[in-house]
């Protein structure tokens, strides 16, 4: 087994594809930095102004757009009017750079919204307001901010906040990235089948050694992410590793930034293993790199394009591949809500991995290595 590893390492070390993958990681990290700059993400002021217009729009749905406030509007109406003025206050706080006031008003807004869920007629405006889950997470976040007497807003260009932002968004892309990386696994070997077939190594050991080598390059990629962001640390500082983030694991809770990052890395590694094994199986069956890629894409995007599939097949491992969305609780807010969490996802992915290993061990003998 070790010999297979050594041989594999020798072959892969010089493989340009791995270098290209690492280069791609570097470019994506820097691309994110540009993206933040260009799209003014995290610029609270712009976002709040949008909120204000939303609030106005909601009110317009109510009745006459410009009736005078006579005091016999519904409770919901009053609540929404209060929301609108709270948002205005938020904007004022941001403009004057008083973060503590911003947190307080945000907390108030979250409380108002919480009340609104129970009020009559909420369904009409539901789609214009954040969902129950989102609001709970907002509420928890701002409560923590107020309790701790926070006075600053995290700057996305500091090390920790940037990494958090990166890992908050990388979920969807990670599966795709790894599919590309592993889509040609074993295919090179098929080209040199007369060399490989005769190896005095068990085939499943051989495959395992390939997986380990791929896994190594993936781990290096992840490390690269942390390394590439270091210039931000040098220029703008570390940022707060304990900054809370809202996630959904059955109920809305807060965890610290560093916990979230650690969790993300864990999921990314697990998903990588899943994708690698799946690529191996697909390549043995289809013998074509592009077809393997297409199958990956279809399986991955299917639950996203048809959210109703999630309720149909809640245990489909592909529901959990976009771990960011699951952590945000997106499936809970779907038209047909499904209560799935990443804990469940973890178990299902692990089971899938074990199943695939079993399949590889049992069904794939050396005879399968043939040229396309």
């Amino acid at each position: 087994m070790l010999r297979a590893l050594k041989v594999g390492l020798v072959i892969e070390r010089a493989n340009r594809k791995n270098l290209v993958a690492l280069l791609a990681v570097v470019m994506i990290v820097f691309g994110f930095m540009f993206y933040i700059k260009a799209q003014a993400v995290g610029n609270q002021l712009v976002e709040k102004k949008g909120d204000f217009y939303s609030a106005q729009a909601i009110l317009s749905k109510f009745q006459i757009k410009d009736a005078s406030e006579t005091g016999d509007g519904s409770d919901l109406y009053k609540n929404l009017v209060k929301q609108k003025s709270t948002i205005a206050l938020q904007i004022a706080a941001l403009t004057m750079d008083k973060q503590s006031m911003y947190y307080e008003t945000s907390l108030k807004l979250a409380e108002l919204r919480q009340e609104a869920f129970e009020l009559e007629g909420y369904e009409n405006v539901a789609e214009l307001l954040p969902s129950k889950l989102q609001n709970s997470m907002d509420y928890l976040y701002f409560k923590r901010m107020v309790d701790e007497g926070k006075d600053t807003i995290s700057d996305l260009f500091q090390y920790m906040p940037f990494l958090l932002f990166f890992f908050l968004h990388v979920g969807a892309g990670w599966y795709i990235f790894i599919s590309f990386h592993t889509s040609s696994i074993l295919l090179d070997d098929f080209e040199h089948s007369s060399i490989i077939k005769g190896f005095p190594v068990r085939f499943d050991h051989y495959i395992l050694s390939k997986c380990i080598i791929t896994f190594l390059s993936i781990v290096i990629s992840i490390l690269l992410i942390f390394i590439c962001a270091i210039p931000l640390w040098i220029l703008n500082g570390l940022g707060n590793p304990l900054e809370p983030v809202g996630i959904y694991i059955g109920n809305a809770t807060l965890i610290s930034t560093i916990q979230y990052i650690a969790m993300s890395v864990g999921y990314m590694i697990l998903i990588s293993i899943f994708v690698t094994l799946l690529s191996i199986i697909l390549n043995v069956l289809l013998k074509n790199m592009y077809l393997t890629l297409f199958v990956h894409f279809i399986l991955f995007f299917l639950p996203m394009i048809f959210p109703s599939l999630i309720s149909l097949l809640p245990y489909n491992p592909f529901n959990f591949m976009n771990f960011n969305d699951i952590l945000l609780g997106v499936p809970v807010d779907l038209a047909k809500p499904v209560d799935i969490t990443m804990n469940l996802g973890l178990i299902i992915i692990c089971i899938s991995i074990i199943l695939m290993l079993f399949v590889i061990k049992t069904f794939f003998s050396t005879g399968k290595i043939n040229r396309a």
Binding site: K17, A24, A38, G50, S54, A57, K65, A67, L291
Partner: protein, 403 residues
């Protein structure tokens, strides 16, 4: 050269990957036609109930205020009365027209309605645009609505003067050609260009596996590259086959539309308070220009892939460069940024083909110079440079297409 063309042609259309791409596109088209198109719910729709609800509430207010003493009343009430007195007759007229089935009259009045409503709503806190624009925290909802309302104004104006038969499908842009127009303004160009990238990505690399068979072919390298380019272009045109089938099916469901339908073009130079903000272009012209621009993109993409293939010899690099060309705009695009930067000079700004032709992109960027002609020049120029480089390299004595 003809025999080499036959050879490449056969290889291209029997390549498993390419067959899979055509198949997936066909599947996506059928899926769209049967599942997504029917659920199309435009924000600006012909909604009798909505007009009626608004009309009745306002009319009730007006009737209530009739004959009352307006001296000590809040100025916003007076304002409301004035506005409603203007709008309500228009709304009533629209309702009547719908009752009569007189689409021309409806179109005429609706055009006025949009124009007027927009002028009182834009940047005016008292009124708000249709709330559907504000979903998902759209920060730019106001601008989007402004654009939409004025566009609809011009559309309906054109409908009212039309000499073809009007229908609800035409108003709501559900007909086959109008659906195609909508798709060209959103995601279709990108899908097609990505398909072209995927189709041509290995057109050079596939020969690496059979060197001793192909090296000796008595045909020059640059001719081989040209044949490959031509075959890839043919393959790109074939991408339209499933699309046309899809359009045909939509046509059977909701009518085909015709080429004289209006396709408004944003005109930044007009004063919106006086002339609105749009000029007219027929759908035929829109489609024609879109195809030309799209086809030019195909040429650019294929040649860039060919050039990268002979320089870098790696499919991944081809893919990365292709993606960069397609999505590169996202790195610098954000609203209004075109006011400060010369985005019109980057070829990547022209990727949203439909939006370029309809000049929605100009609105997005706040830039007046993004233009079909300029885009065409830039892209053709880029293609020319790439082809030139490619042939230059291929003519070099030491260059070998198949190593």
């Amino acid at each position: 050269m003809w025999s080499y063309f036959k050879f490449e042609f056969k290889q291209f259309f029997t390549n498993k990957k390419n067959v899979a791409i055509y198949f997936l596109l066909a599947f996506a088209t059928l899926f769209y036609v049967f599942k997504i198109a029917p659920t199309y719910n435009p924000i600006e729709s012909v909604d009798y109930d909505e007009i009626e609800a608004r009309y009745l509430t306002r009319q009730e207010f007006l009737d209530h205020m009739e004959g009352q003493d307006l001296h000590n009343v809040h100025p916003s009430v007076i304002y409301a009365i004035e506005i409603f007195k203007e709008i309500n007759p228009i709304d009533k007229g629209r309702l009547d027209a719908l009752d009569e089935g007189n689409f021309k009259k409806y179109a005429d009045l609706t055009s006025d309605w949009y124009f007027f409503t927009n002028s009182i709503t834009y940047r005016n806190e008292a009124f708000s645009y249709n709330s559907k624009y504000f979903i998902k925290n759209n920060k730019y909802a106001e601008d989007d609505a402004f654009y939409a309302y004025l566009e609809q104004a011009v559309r309906y104006d054109s409908y009212s003067k039309a000499d073809y038969e009007l229908s609800l499908e035409i108003f709501e842009q559900r007909t086959a050609l109008q659906t195609f127009e909508r798709l060209l303004k959103s995601v279709l160009p990108i899908i097609l260009i990505v398909c072209v990238l995927l189709l041509s990505i290995d057109i050079v690399k596939k020969d690496q596996r059979h060197p001793s068979i192909l090296k000796g072919f008595p045909i020059s390298d640059w001719k081989k590259l040209l044949v490959k380019m031509f075959v890839a272009l043919l393959g790109s045109v074939v991408l339209f086959v499933p699309l046309i089938v899809g359009i045909f099916i939509i046509g059977l469901q909701s009518g085909f539309g015709n080429f004289n339908l209006p396709s408004p073009v944003y005109a930044a130079h007009l004063d919106w308070r006086v002339d609105g903000k749009f000029e007219m272009m027929t759908l035929g012209t829109f489609l024609g220009q879109s195809f030309i621009l799209l086809f030019t993109w195909f040429i650019v993409m294929i040649n860039v892939v060919l050039l990268c293939s002979i320089i870098f010899r790696s499919e991944m690099v081809n893919f990365a460069v292709g993606l960069f060309l397609i999505f590169g705009e996202n790195f610098y695009s954000s609203r209004y940024v075109g006011y400060f930067w010369d985005v019109q000079n980057y070829p990547t700004s022209y990727i949203q083909v439909g939006q370029i032709i309809s000049k929605r992109r100009n609105f997005y960027y706040m830039n007046n110079q993004l233009d079909f002609t300029l885009g065409l020049q830039l892209l053709l120029g880029l293609a020319g440079v790439v082809i030139f480089l490619m042939i230059l390299i291929a003519l070099n004595r030491r260059f070998k297409l198949i190593k």
